[in-house]
């Protein structure tokens, strides 16, 4: 089938959709701004709740999508809206005329340095969830390697549920990610005290609550309900964390060897840029606006433009993959029913 289908973003949503469309007999085009496929998941080590290696998931997706036309290191330069199609100029000089675009542009990790009070980039022993995954993958980070690791803290909701950071929504995956990473650290450093500072724990997904109970019961991770208000560095380079222990109604402080900030998800600036060029609206949360947030999450308000994954809001890996499959089917039906 010769219909052009352009998939913007080679993360897991783009790969899954491309794999499905290939099986349906199409030859979709994937453009990816970075030099590798798999997006954020490719940078991750293991995935909750079964500790599936992220590389396995990404590897499978890439091999299924291998028949697609894939352009790495490529961005959209501009979009011309024609009568019933789009003329899209890519940064590599190629232009594509297509009636069907799938946005799988994903999210950006919130820049934790913007929460100045947590001292990311200022204090030596502060890192993000993403940095910790990098350490799990490579073992290379002096923040973990060069210290005693007697006490570690996780700060939930960094740049999420935070109106001042202009990000009032919940990023959905950080609670369970914190629990996953806390368990992994406990496995590596069984003697360390591991604290999670949370406002609410949102254990909505399959087996999440079991994971949470395991963190408490089997690993002794300590959960402190209170948002970290301020972090400082003491004379020996460790960090002092202040929060309220809201369950006892008292201020609380603790000295930690490592502090991990659970940076949330925000709409990626590239996603916003591409949406602007294609004339697509943003929702009040800053992510791309779907035709309907209940029934038509994968459809944009524009004919022929579809969404999958975290470009419309924070999503888990299985949710993203399910949306990618749904979008592939939707595109197939759209084509077979004569583009109406």
């Amino acid at each position: 089938m010769k219909e052009n289908i352009l998939i913007i973003g080679g993360g897991i949503a783009g790969l899954e959709a491309a794999g499905q469309l290939t099986e349906l007999g199409y030859k979709p085009i994937i453009i990816e701004k970075s030099d590798h496929l798999g997006g954020h998941v490719a940078d991750w080590n293991c995935l909750f709740p079964d500790m599936t290696p992220a590389q396995e998931v990404v590897g499978r997706l890439i091999s299924r999508a291998s028949d697609a036309n894939i352009f790495l290191n490529t961005e959209i330069s501009f979009v011309n809206r024609l009568k019933d199609s789009y003329n899209i100029m890519l940064s590599n000089g190629i232009s594509i005329i297509t009636k069907i675009i799938l946005f799988t542009t994903g999210f950006s990790v919130f820049d934790a340095a913007r929460k100045e009070e947590y001292g990311y980039g200022v204090y030596d022993q502060v890192m993000t969830n993403r940095d910790l995954e990098h350490w799990f993958n490579t073992g290379d980070d002096r923040r973990v390697n060069d210290c005693a690791m007697n006490a570690v803290g996780f700060v939930h909701c960094v740049g999420s549920r935070d109106e001042k950071a202009r990000n009032p929504q919940c990023s959905k995956v950080c609670c369970i990610t914190a629990i996953k990473q806390a368990i992994e650290l406990k496995q590596k450093f069984p003697e360390a005290m591991v604290y999670c500072f949370y406002m609410d724990l949102r254990m909505f997904g399959k087996k999440y609550e079991d994971f949470y109970i395991a963190a408490q019961r089997d690993y002794g991770v300590r959960f402190i309900r209170g948002r970290v208000s301020e972090v400082s560095e003491n004379i020996d380079g460790r960090v002092i964390v202040k929060a309220e222990d809201t369950l006892s109604g008292k201020p609380l402080k603790v000295t930690l060897d490592l502090l991990v900030l659970m940076a949330g998800m925000v709409c990626s600036p590239d996603s916003t840029r591409a949406a602007n060029m294609a004339g697509l609206p943003l929702d009040s949360d800053g992510f791309l606006k779907s035709r309907d947030n209940v029934a038509d999450i994968i459809e944009s308000p524009r004919e022929g433009v579809f969404y999958a994954g975290a470009c419309t809001g924070p999503k888990t890996v299985p949710e993203t993959l399910a949306e990618a499959r749904a979008a592939a089917l939707k595109i197939h039906l759209y084509i077979t029913k004569g583009m109406k």
Binding site: A113, E116, E117, G119, Y120, G121, V122, Y123, D124, E230, S232, E233, N234, I235, G237, I240
Partner: protein, 356 residues
């Protein structure tokens, strides 16, 4: 500590400070606590650096203390402030600089409030007109006096007679900088360097050769807190906050503390005496306290003014150990001699805190 990380944040919070032509208003209390500070500010800015700073004897309090003690309504504070702005307008100035941090916070807050609620500004204009037939323009630029010394820091460094270097060891002096709460905590973008890692005083210390200490309770309030101090039943809270800061900075052995607020240097200076008397604990070397300076006093010291001419004898904590470290010459016998060698009389020495 990653210094570049702080520099990145400082770059985000650079405020525009015009170089010249300022309307200067004093603090209610600084002339009693640190009588040389404001005089030296004008001396340095006007006479040494040749800038135009205008002040008028007709200006009053900004109402900040009463406002923060909950004793006057907001409209009253705003009308007082409107009158100050009217004095600036009448004098033909557009840049307004306050000596007091709480005033600075007060002005910032009021200008912001008027921006959000223009009907309130209209009401205050009416009230001011009814009260004293004056009209005003909102200042084009609002600064705290420490913003100006920060701005002139390199000029001061170029003329400095002394550097903030320990002459016995050759090492930079270790300095604690303490920023008044109302400088940037309410409006982080209005402070040089923002609210979490303010640069206004750190910049001076660096320019003059010292090293800034970042200790865990750096951002904590000095303890003044208006009602915490003014209501005697609460005074223990004031003392406790100061104590908390000193306990936190103690391991770093600071050589001095630099402040930019009227209340902070006063309480960090005087409470060292109270802590010494009640707890038997002192924080400086050999039973001394840690000297606490205003930014004007520090600028004057590096510029080579006589310590007793700038009012350092009115500090509770003796400044002599610091003067000795920098190598500043002073006459111990002249400490309590005022203008024309007038005998100011020696204060009674405390029991625990060593004061020469």
């Amino acid at each position: 500590m990653i210094y570049q990380g702080k520099q990145k944040i400082w770059a985000d919070y650079q405020k525009e400070i015009p170089d010249n032509h300022w309307f200067y208003v004093r603090s209610c209390i600084r002339q009693n606590f640190f009588p040389g500070a404001e005089k030296m500010f004008l001396e340095i800015c006007r006479n040494l650096l040749g800038r135009d700073f205008f002040e008028t004897e007709y200006h009053t309090t900004c109402g900040g203390i009463a406002y923060h003690c909950d004793t006057i309504p907001q409209e009253t504070v705003m009308t007082i402030v409107a009158r100050q702005f009217a004095l600036m307008t009448e004098a033909g100035y557009e840049n307004y600089v306050a000596s007091c941090i709480t005033s600075f916070g007060n002005y910032t807050e009021i200008i912001e409030t008027w921006r959000e609620f223009p009907e309130l500004e209209t009401k205050i204009r009416e009230l001011l007109w009814k009260a004293c037939r004056r009209e005003f323009k909102i200042p084009k630029y609002l600064a705290h006096a420490s913003d100006l010394i920060y701005k002139y820091r390199n000029e001061i460094a170029a003329r400095a007679k002394y550097r903030l270097i320990n002459r016995h060891t050759g090492e930079p002096l270790k300095a604690v900088e303490h920023i008044g709460c109302h400088y940037a905590k309410m409006f982080p973008s209005r402070g040089v360097g923002g609210a979490e890692y303010p640069y206004v005083l750190a910049g001076m210390i660096e320019a003059w050769g010292g090293n800034v200490i970042d200790y865990p309770e750096r951002r904590h309030c000095c303890g003044y807190g208006f009602r915490q101090y003014h209501v005697k039943a609460n005074r223990g809270y004031s003392l406790s906050n100061t104590h908390k800061k000193f306990e936190s900075m103690e391991p770093y052995h600071p050589d001095f503390i630099l402040t930019n607020c009227p209340g902070c240097p006063y309480f960090m200076d005087r409470w060292q005496y109270v802590i010494a008397e009640t707890e038997g604990k002192t924080y400086g070397e050999n039973g001394y306290g840690i000297p606490v300076l205003t930014y004007e006093e520090l600028a004057s010291l590096v510029l080579g003014y006589d310590p007793w001419d700038i009012g350092l004898q009115l500090h509770q904590v003796a400044v002599e150990p610091l003067l000795d470290k920098i190598g500043i010459e002073y006459d111990p016998k002249a400490k309590y001699l005022g203008l024309d060698e007038k005998d100011l009389m020696k204060p009674e020495l405390p029991g625990v805190l060593r004061c020469c």
